[in-house]
């Protein structure tokens, strides 16, 4: 089902990689220019009327953000995930809040948690979840939450642990060899 959809739309929207996941779920990559026409087409002509979610994946090793627009076609019980690769050094993307008003919320979150900007999206620069956040956007891969937590919030002291193998070495054969 999804494959035939892809075959139909492939040339028209210059689609990239296609990944069939289940019979009713597939992911497809699209370029930034073709995103909006594709979404419009899917929404208005293919029945993908429900924007399930919009989120990002940080592929820091490839220096890209992957934006995933997941659309659902309830009548035919199928989903399509539209992937868009965004270079990490140019984190600006076109807003789709006029297609789905609810997208504005997702875009606010992406702005805050990934630092991906959506100019013109309503209230995109307002605080959403965090308040007074002064570090790098926390969902980026380079943000180390454990290190941040250790530096910011003191833990209760008095914890120590031992590695069983190392401890047994200390106790049983401290010189590296036992004499048994």
């Amino acid at each position: 089902m999804m494959q035939s959809l892809y075959d139909r739309l492939k040339d028209r929207f210059n689609l990239g990689e296609f990944t069939g996941r289940r019979a009713d779920l597939a992911f497809v990559t699209v370029s930034r220019e073709q995103l909006r026409p594709l979404l419009l087409h899917l929404r208005d002509l293919e029945g993908f009327t429900h924007l399930v979610l919009l989120t990002a994946v940080d592929w820091i090793e490839d220096d890209t953000f992957q934006l995933t627009y997941l659309l659902n076609d309830r009548a035919r019980a199928r989903d399509i995930g539209v992937r868009l690769m965004l270079p990490r050094d140019d984190t600006q993307m076109d807003s789709i809040h006029d297609l789905w008003p609810t997208a504005a919320t997702y875009q606010r979150e992406l702005r805050e948690m990934f630092g991906i900007d959506f100019p013109d999206s309503p209230r995109v620069n307002e605080d959403f979840i965090l308040e007074g956040w002064v570090d790098i956007p926390p969902y980026r891969r380079e943000f180390d939450t454990l290190r941040f937590a250790r530096e910011t919030y003191p833990e209760r002291p008095g914890r120590e642990t031992h590695d069983p193998a190392t401890y047994m070495k200390q106790q049983l054969y401290p010189d590296g060899e036992d004499n048994g």
């Binding site: 642990t161 031992h162 069983p164 047994m168 070495k169 049983l172």
Partner: protein
């Protein structure tokens, strides 16, 4: 909206005269039987493997030493550590209970703990006494609910029918997929490392198998054991007896995984992976005996840049691994490759050179900075029962050596083996093969002093012996090798064993002479232990050295009372390959320290 909508709500008043449904005494309400409340730990069952700590996503568990509490102490198979849980972290997910390797950890259905001091919410279950220690109910790992596979991946082996008439290697070795699955079972706790005599980095090389990084694995192996290929096949694998997985399932097949690594790396790459020896130091060391201990010492010293000469009486190196272990367990080419690798480090071999006959100890002392004596245990012990001096009563070691040397033995139609150790199994199974080849049928009886549960032999060996139609009788004490008038050996007469040791733990078997059996056999083979052939040392040296119950007395580094002479291997430690390797390392280290000290003196 109607009158009904105004009146209907008043139906609620019917509850006025019903009893309230409140719990009368909520302070003493017991939680459900499965409730995941506060932790309990059976500290005697627990081995402190730290798997609970590894799986805890909250970082709530610390492993703390509790030595001395209720007899817990650090010993092989038990780290002496016990988990301490921080209830400022715990989320009661019970993954620690699910993953616990011994099943010692569980949860009671106690759930109330109020404290003004936040630092008090840490305790070692089972050690710090809590009122819920004895709670009957609570979460226990449900039957069959395991987060790691309890069963070992089956090793491909020849079926008894296929293997019984040949000396072809029985064990086939894991495929990559099988090895990965088996390696996957390991929980990387490292309890086994302490048990391994040479402390190989077992979890690390198993991780290498898991990751498919065999070259890194091989490097780990050879840094700790130059007999890795051999140990991969015939190691006595003490490690597996203490493996955390053995408590509730099969231990990890550590030996087979080691073997798998050595099989996966092409032999040509070995040398490059192990690395070049250090620059020559100018020191020279002589090693007597090319067994595992001697060759390990040679390998270590050669890598450190010392010149090593190995003197071997036989025509091939390998010692007991070459001459004492049947081919179906350890093929020749494996040994040869191992020796070649060691020799390639710059060790000079002198084969067919017998000390005392071809070269004297005094000569060695003179030519070298240090001498290592690692001549193993080559003389079989005798039961000394009447008739044991008959020509058809053999020592197992002698027979095995002859078989391995390629001699075409004429197998007897029937024979009896005395002894319950691995050597007894080896000779029984080797002879069974010869019998099958020559006579088409097997008639071998093996009698041992011990009962089945105390056999010294590897259980796998016993199982395979039985598969190969060896009759095994336990608790039989040999009384006489029966000889008829024509001086033909008839067989062995045994009594049933009451007990082997007396109250003081000394070897003093007592028998039940009412339960007598006669085992028919043209041959009787004694496999009850070996001795070292120390006669080669010469009287003068023998006189000088300190002795302890027939063995040369050495210090903990293997050094004898003579400062230039070290002794290592089976002759010091008893028969075991991996112990010999460990001994070799130790000796090499001691010698290296000695040689370095010499350098310092010279420079000073």
């Amino acid at each position: 909206m109607s009158v009904r909508d105004v009146l209907s709500p008043f139906a609620a008043w019917k509850h006025l005269f019903r009893d309230p449904v409140s719990i009368k005494d909520p302070f003493n309400r017991e939680a459900s039987e499965r409730y995941r409340g506060f932790h309990q730990n059976d500290i005697e069952k627990c081995i402190g493997c730290g798997t609970c700590e590894a799986i805890c996503q909250n970082g709530a568990i610390d492993m703390l030493p509790v030595s001395g509490v209720d007899g817990v102490q650090t010993r092989p198979g038990d780290s002496g550590l016990r988990p301490r849980i921080d209830y400022g972290r715990c989320c009661w997910c019970a993954l620690c209970v699910d993953v616990c390797m011994t099943g010692s950890l569980s949860m009671s259905n106690a759930y109330k703990w109020v404290e003004a001091d936040p630092d008090k919410f840490r305790y070692i279950p089972g050690v710090d006494k809590k009122h819920w220690d004895d709670y009957e109910h609570g979460y226990r790992r449900p039957e069959g609910h395991r987060l790691n596979a309890p069963e070992r991946i089956e090793m491909p082996e020849l079926e008894p029918g296929e293997r019984i008439d040949s000396f072809a290697e029985i064990v086939g070795g894991y495929s990559v997929e099988q090895a990965r699955l088996e390696a996957d079972r390991c929980v990387t706790c490292g309890i086994c490392v302490a048990t391994c005599p040479t402390h190989m980095p077992i979890p690390e090389y198993i991780s290498a198998v898991r990751d498919g990084d065999y070259e890194a694995g091989l490097k780990l192996l050879y840094d700790s054991n130059p007999f890795s290929q051999i140990c991969g096949k015939i190691c006595t694998r003490r490690c597996e007896t203490t493996c955390a997985a053995s408590h509730e399932g099969d231990p990890i097949a550590i030996r087979w995984l080691k073997r798998h690594i050595t099989e996966q790396v092409p032999f040509e790459r070995y040398r490059a992976i192990i690395g070049e020896p250090a620059a020559a130091t100018g020191h020279s060391v002589a090693i007597v005996g090319a067994g595992p201990a001697g060759m390990t010492t040679a390998f270590d010293l050669a890598r450190l840049g010392h010149k090593v000469h190995v003197y071997e009486a036989q025509s091939h190196a390998g010692g007991m691994t070459r001459y004492g272990i049947p081919e179906y367990r350890l093929p020749f080419d494996t040994i040869q490759r191992e020796i070649d690798l060691i020799v390639s480090m710059g060790v000079e071999m002198h084969y067919n050179t017998r000390i005392g006959a071809d070269i004297s100890m005094a000569q060695l002392q003179q030519d070298h900075d240090a001498v290592v004596l690692s001549i193993g245990l080559w003389l079989g012990r005798s039961t000394r029962v009447p008739g044991s001096d008959h020509r058809n009563v053999y020592k197992a070691v002698d027979l095995l050596r002859r078989i391995r040397d390629g001699e075409q033995l004429q197998a007897p139609k029937s024979m009896v083996v005395i002894g319950g150790g691995n050597v007894a199994m080896d000779i029984a199974r080797s002879m069974a093969r010869l019998q099958q080849q020559q006579h088409g049928q097997i008639a071998i009886t093996l009698t041992a002093l011990e009962d089945k549960s105390h056999f010294l032999a590897d259980p796998v060996e016993i199982k395979e012996s039985i598969e190969e139609q060896v009759t095994i009788l336990d608790s039989r004490g040999p009384q006489e090798c029966m000889v008829d008038d024509q001086d033909n050996l008839l067989g062995l007469r045994t009594w049933r064993v009451h007990s082997i040791f007396d109250e003081n733990g000394r070897f003093a078997p007592s028998y039940d002479d009412g339960d007598e059996m006669v085992h028919e056999g043209e041959w009787v083979v004694e496999a009850i232990g070996q001795m070292s052939d120390v006669a080669i040392l010469g009287d003068e040296l023998t006189e000088k050295l300190d002795w302890n119950r027939g063995r040369i007395q050495v210090d903990e580094d293997g050094r004898t009372s003579e400062s230039w002479l070290w002794s290592a291997g089976d002759m010091v430690r008893g028969p075991d390959v991996v112990h010999a390797v460990a001994d070799g390392h130790r000796t090499a280290r001691s010698i290296h320290a000695h040689l370095s000290a010499l350098d310092k003196q010279e420079n000073a």
